[in-house]
């Protein structure tokens, strides 16, 4: 039995925008086992990137984690936190949301690392890749020299012209030592960059997209983290390069026994990489379980819709079965207390007007689903009248969103607040 490394309980992250409160992540629970690849899959605006950032504590204003606990399994950390803050510790687990900012920061890089979607914009264009990697190494070294202390951050390293001039004369003012440079080169080699010695002296624009993504992975590995959060790591890449990067992540995970939280919209990538999967919709995980549970024994109509939307590569199939409508806006006052998918669901019933709890579903023990269909079968007698959501909830809008479906589809609008989420989540492709 593998142990959990992360347990997230009741996590809520909200954004307070001019249009109102946006529930990007809403009362979310999940756990990740040590050494597994856990995938979160969903469409843009479903809250998957915000989940990843909440875990890393990278939520910026106007967003805030408003509620919940993130339990992280680290005996050493638990010991050092226990004095004076007993509430934050539960056995070997530490609640990352109740420890001090400094303690939290010290975990970044050494316990948690993140790789982002867009490698081009994640590097500083005016420094060589080697220098940026060496800097990451340096930060980690300082962090481990002074564990859990405030000194973990680079304190002197302000990039300024004055500092640059000083660094040319005084070795002590250099940002990186020779050792960390060596380590940077080792890291580049580890992620399969040919000729790392030369590449270390090149600038990000001299790298191709795939190589830059490798370099970003190298940077994330600098502190030998326990958990790697990969937010759409291959979305910006071509398929042949995507295959290379996925192979690399696979290899690294096998060699180092790293735990990976993989965020993606691509079900193929999920199938390729993950042990367990959570399908996210409107800030909640609507279905979760092992890969087989979700792909073969799925219960939730949303999961079915998502899988039905993908054109098949193996055979030219008939018509695709899309989901009508769009991802909801996640505005608090528009969400209501019903199943959030009910307005797009082909099997919506009276019961769906109440927010469903998580039901256990057939398959492995982990398989749960937030849909009443886990408990009962669909009965047309109980189905909601056509056009139910048109009148009751939203102003008249797009009645013809999907020509393939009858006029019973709800109007959906995705206006400004959605854009806010997209920006925060960084999911535009």
């Amino acid at each position: 039995m593998t142990e959990d490394i992360i347990r997230v309980e009741g996590l809520s992250t909200r954004f307070f925008t001019e249009q109102g409160q946006v529930n990007a992540v809403d009362d979310l629970d999940f756990r990740i086992e040590r050494g597994e690849v856990f995938g979160i899959v969903g469409e843009s605006g479903s809250g998957k990137s915000v989940t990843a950032r909440s875990l890393m504590d990278l939520i910026e204003s106007p967003g805030r984690i408003t509620d919940g606990e993130i339990w992280f399994n680290d005996a050493e950390l638990a010991d050092s936190v226990a004095e004076g803050n007993e509430e934050a510790v539960d056995g070997d687990f530490v609640d990352l949301l109740s420890i001090t900012e400094q303690q939290r920061t010290a975990l970044r890089g050494t316990s948690f690392s993140m790789i982002f979607q867009d490698p081009e914009s994640s590097f500083n264009p005016s420094l060589t890749v080697g220098e940026q990697l060496a800097e990451a190494v340096e930060v980690q070294q300082r962090a481990s020299a002074n564990p859990r202390s405030t000194k973990a951050k680079t304190q002197t390293a302000d990039y300024s012209f004055g500092n640059y001039l000083l660094s040319t004369m005084l070795p002590s003012q250099r940002f990186v030592t020779d050792e960390s440079r060596e380590r940077a080169i080792e890291l580049l080699e580890l992620v399969g960059i040919p000729d790392p010695v030369e590449r270390a002296d090149e600038y990000p624009h001299e790298y191709s997209g795939g190589m830059l993504q490798r370099a970003m992975i190298a940077q994330a590995l600098a502190g030998e983290p326990d958990v790697l959060v990969a937010d759409e790591p291959t979305t910006a890449l071509d398929v042949t390069i995507q295959a290379q990067i996925l192979d690399l992540l696979d290899e690294l995970q096998e060699e180092n026994g790293m735990t990976i939280l993989l965020i993606t919209h691509n079900l193929g990538v999920v199938a390729r990489m993950c042990d367990r999967v959570g399908v996210m919709y409107a800030g909640e995980i609507v279905e979760r379980g092992t890969l087989e549970d979700v792909f073969d024994d799925h219960v939730h109509p949303y999961t079915e819709g998502l899988l039905g939307s993908i054109p098949d590569l193996a055979s030219a199939g008939g018509r695709l079965q899309p989901i009508g409508g769009n991802v909801p806006s996640l505005l608090d006052h528009e969400m209501g207390d019903r199943c959030h998918f009910a307005d797009r669901c082909p099997k919506a019933m009276d019961q769906c007007l109440e927010h469903p709890p998580e039901y256990a579903a057939a398959g492995s023990d982990d398989h749960t689903v937030r849909c009443v269909l886990a408990e009962r079968s669909y009965d047309e007698q109980d189905s909601l009248p056509t056009g139910y959501f048109d009148e009751t909830e939203r102003p008249a809008g797009d009645k013809h969103e999907d020509p393939d479906r009858s006029a019973g589809e709800p109007p959906e609008e995705r206006t400004q607040p959605q854009t806010t989420i997209d920006e925060v989540g960084g999911e535009s492709r």
Binding site: M211, Q244, V269, P322, D398, D402, P403, E412
Partner: protein
Amino acid sequence: MSSDEQREHAAETAGTESGVDTAGSGAGAGTTSRSSADSDAHTTTSAATGAEAPLVSVQNLEKYFWENDSLLDRLLGGEPVAVRAVDGVSFDIYEGETLGLVGESGCGKSTTGETLLRLQEPTGGRVEFGGENVYEMDNGAVTDFRQSAQVVFQDPFSSLDPRMTIGDIVQQPLDIHDVGTTDERRARVRDLLERVGLSTDQLDRYPHEFSGGQRQRIGIARALALEPEFLVLDEPTSALDVSVQAQVLNLLEDLQDEFDLTYLLISHDLSVIRHICDRVAVMYLGEIVEIGPVEELFDDPKHPYTKALLESVPRATTEERERDRETLAGDVPSPRDPPSGCRFRTRCPMVIPPEDLQIEQETFREIMTARERIENRDISLETVGGEQIEFEDGSVPSADVPAFVDLLHERLFDEPLPGRHREVVDEALAELADSDWEAAESTLRMEYESVCERENPGLGEGAHPVACHLYGEAGTGENAIDPDTWS
């Protein structure tokens, strides 16, 4: 392409120059008015040639972009550098079919689409639309051409003018081409919006009020406004989520059936191509490497690049983790200086060794990759020896040469090369100890020059041509090479 440019293009295709004189301005909504002489020419050609002749015929199309070509560069005597975005592409599109153009980013597929619509002036080659050369049309004929050939752009966020209501956006092509009366235009716009699945009471809204999928529908409605015969769909769904992508793909299929449209679908997504296309052309670095009917190409891909591309796509099934995959190494080379011969040879897992050479395929691939790096001067010799070996004035003391060669060998190859190959390669590496790149190059070329670097295989003719030496001379199948013979 920047968003401004894209918007400009959209408006341009939607309606070329405004104020063009049209003959039948009284024609009803839903019918297109054309300047009569040219439209006659149009209809007669397509009617006379029948179903056999292609609607669009692209012959040897070239589009280069020039770098270092400003006045200052010329004064300073700099040589302009050609970026060969599209380099001799030929294909036909028949009426009513969907041709897919697939390839990785930067392979020139979008440039091909834009150039064949004459949104870019070509560097060479010709494009025939219904038998007429698109690049030799006079203004009137171009206006007609633009009515019958339209485009839908990739990014629904930047290809719609944010200051126009969607009603105006869809009506603009009708205004520019002066189709029908004002009332008829309005009615047509309503029709179109309904047809693509939007409601008519949204006419007065602005693009920002719509989601990505809805905006793409608006772009499609705009493209359909003039009742075109031919649509270039440039990555129409790559900015959309999969559930919305499926809606748009279904819509495109319905529209094709309803209006007898001919599509050129440009996409990097193989599953979309498979789903919607009749025939597929695979592009790599400005050239087409394989064209064939969709079933054949997906079930029995011939070109090693097509094979690799298909292998690389992760399938959304639970068997995916166990699937055998062979992934391509390396990146796409720069179109500024494309490789000689076959452009895929720098990454090709099946690169062909010289006839009389006894060598394993993998070993040959490794040697070819090392050669490539030597030819590009892409090895920093200073760092090979580290602290132990001195490297001054571009050479290593003769006593240290064997050690230098060993270190360099280790750096270039995962495993030491077997037998005689190690001797040949080490001889070349020893020349590098004196920084004599050219000598190293020629030593290796003598031994390992492949047919793939000498000759461009060419695409050839037929229903399923493939540009690869493994399948012999272009189109004839003569001198085909069996990969089993050389290991």
